[in-house]
Symmetry: C2
Subunit: 307 residues, 2 copies
């Protein structure tokens, strides 16, 4: 049906939020930026690197492509406004797959309150999805990775370890429990927790995409501080414990090092400043690097050693 037919197919009849001043169909879109600044981030997902169509439905892949991106904007304390989607896909991709991908993207965009305002569709050997998200700071300062100060408390919002548990399950050829497998296939980042943290005075914030400890490492480095995670404050859900027992795995390993849930981590000046939906899990100290219960962490392999 060609590029234009395909674009019509995936955009026609969709509802845009008020922030979409000019949607798909022209040379470029126009999006409201009432704050006078715009937050922007791009993520690229490659088939068989970031997702597998034999593990996930196209709808889940579409959701995930949007979710991982919107989480970046939330982690600045911004509210997502618009998405642009670049799709490179094999010419023989069935129209039903494109429909499902688009449905997943629009559904997650709607959950985030953002419009899908534009994009591009080209052919390639392998499915590559590039999503750019725009966001509005609503008058607040962006919350960067560099503002954490010794004495701040460390808190997280959203799930930790669920996607990693799902990956472990899928990697052994299982398709359930669906709670963790679903978390791997399409994360549900706590979008609203980002702006809430910014409004509450968060000093630093990051989207956890590579794993809690790895991403806290970026905050520690940017802020030139040390960060200590307290395992007695870390919630390890009973579901994760049960699955880990069944697989002979360590659920705390998933929680500390698993990425892809796209939880948010932030630092706050005081415990009192931590908003609802956020859980205190540690503290910022002078020094450098990330520790767990005061001990250095040796990386994914080191985790086994450390325990």
């Amino acid at each position: 049906m060609g590029e234009f037919g395909l674009i019509r197919r995936v955009t026609e009849g969709r509802v845009q939020p008020p922030s979409t001043l000019l949607g798909p169909g022209d040379d470029a879109a126009v999006v409201a930026a009432p704050d006078g600044r715009v937050v922007a981030s791009t993520d690229v997902l490659v088939e068989n690197v970031h997702f597998r169509l034999d593990w996930s439905t196209p709808e889940q892949v579409g959701r995930k492509a949007v979710a991982v991106n919107v989480a970046d904007v939330a982690a600045m304390g911004a509210v997502p406004t618009a998405l642009l989607v670049g799709m490179a896909c094999p010419p023989d991709t069935p129209a039903s797959v494109m429909d499902e991908l688009a449905n997943g993207m629009w559904a997650e965009a709607a959950r985030a309150g953002a419009g899908v305002v534009g994009g591009d569709m080209v052919t390639s050997e392998r499915l590559v999805i590039s999503v750019t998200v725009l966001g509005d700071l609503q008058g607040r300062a962006p919350v960067t990775r560099s503002g954490a100060r010794p004495g701040d408390v460390l808190a997280v919002a959203g799930r930790l370890g669920w996607a990693a548990a799902g990956l472990a399950v899928l990697g052994r050829g299982f398709r359930s429990p669906v709670a963790v497998v679903g978390a791997q296939r399409a994360p549900e980042p706590p979008y609203a927790a980002g702006p809430a943290a910014a409004a509450a005075g968060a000093t630093a914030m990051i989207d956890i995409s590579d794993g809690l400890l790895a991403d806290l490492g970026h905050v520690a480095e940017s802020s030139q501080v040390g960060i200590d995670v307290r395992t007695e404050l870390l919630e390890v859900h009973q579901r994760l414990v049960d699955i880990a027992n069944a697989l002979g795995a360590d659920p705390r390993h998933w929680v500390l090092t698993g990425g892809e849930d796209h939880a948010l981590a932030a630092t706050f000046p005081t415990v009192e400043a931590v908003p609802p939906d956020w859980r205190v899990i540690g503290a910022v100290r002078q020094g450098q690097g990330v520790t767990v219960d005061g001990q250095p962490y040796e990386g994914p392999q080191g985790w086994e050693h450390w325990r």
Copy 2:
């Protein structure tokens, strides 16, 4: 050297324009949007579909990836402010190729006055470059494809047919004349002509990426008008005539149907309104579709028939 080393390598020491409020290195960038609206467009380029590394240097590919995108923002009448670059590349891509790609992107971004504020780098089998550009309308209304009215004059800014001539030359195994081959490898869209046209009261505007007639077809359809191109007004540069003669080709064919120069086409209420750097090449009339000297055009194949 890993993703983070590579990102540092291609971003470190680069100069950002004042519109870049927060550049690469955090979860998202922050870009000035003084107008209260932001113009946004995404283009995806795939190796061996949109460029060939045996025809172009990585530096030219980088320039092209930025240029084709910035032209979309210019075609709305906006000034480009920021670029986000998603790169999916084979893991064995030499660092020197990444450096050259980045150099080309930064050079073209600087020519456009925009910053490279963020992006993503992932691995894939084939090089895929996704660029998102943001722009500022400076208080003007966006110039869409749908505002052309019967009686308007049609004008273009920038080159027509040069990239098509370059493609014909390259396709026959030649590497010169460098003027047309260079136009194919890295277009030089007339960025400033877009905002100038908007300020002068352009009623419709489009970036010519698929060919003059094909893209005017979008304007005619969106505006529900007919558009007539007058060949006596069409400049066919002597260089194109000479090359066409040497290849046994028709230079007007390149001018009318060749894309990839990313010239701009716009309609204006009067000849007097047409700004410098724009050339009148036709008129808007009642009706529908695009004609050449009042005759229907039958498409690329039809061109031979029509002449």
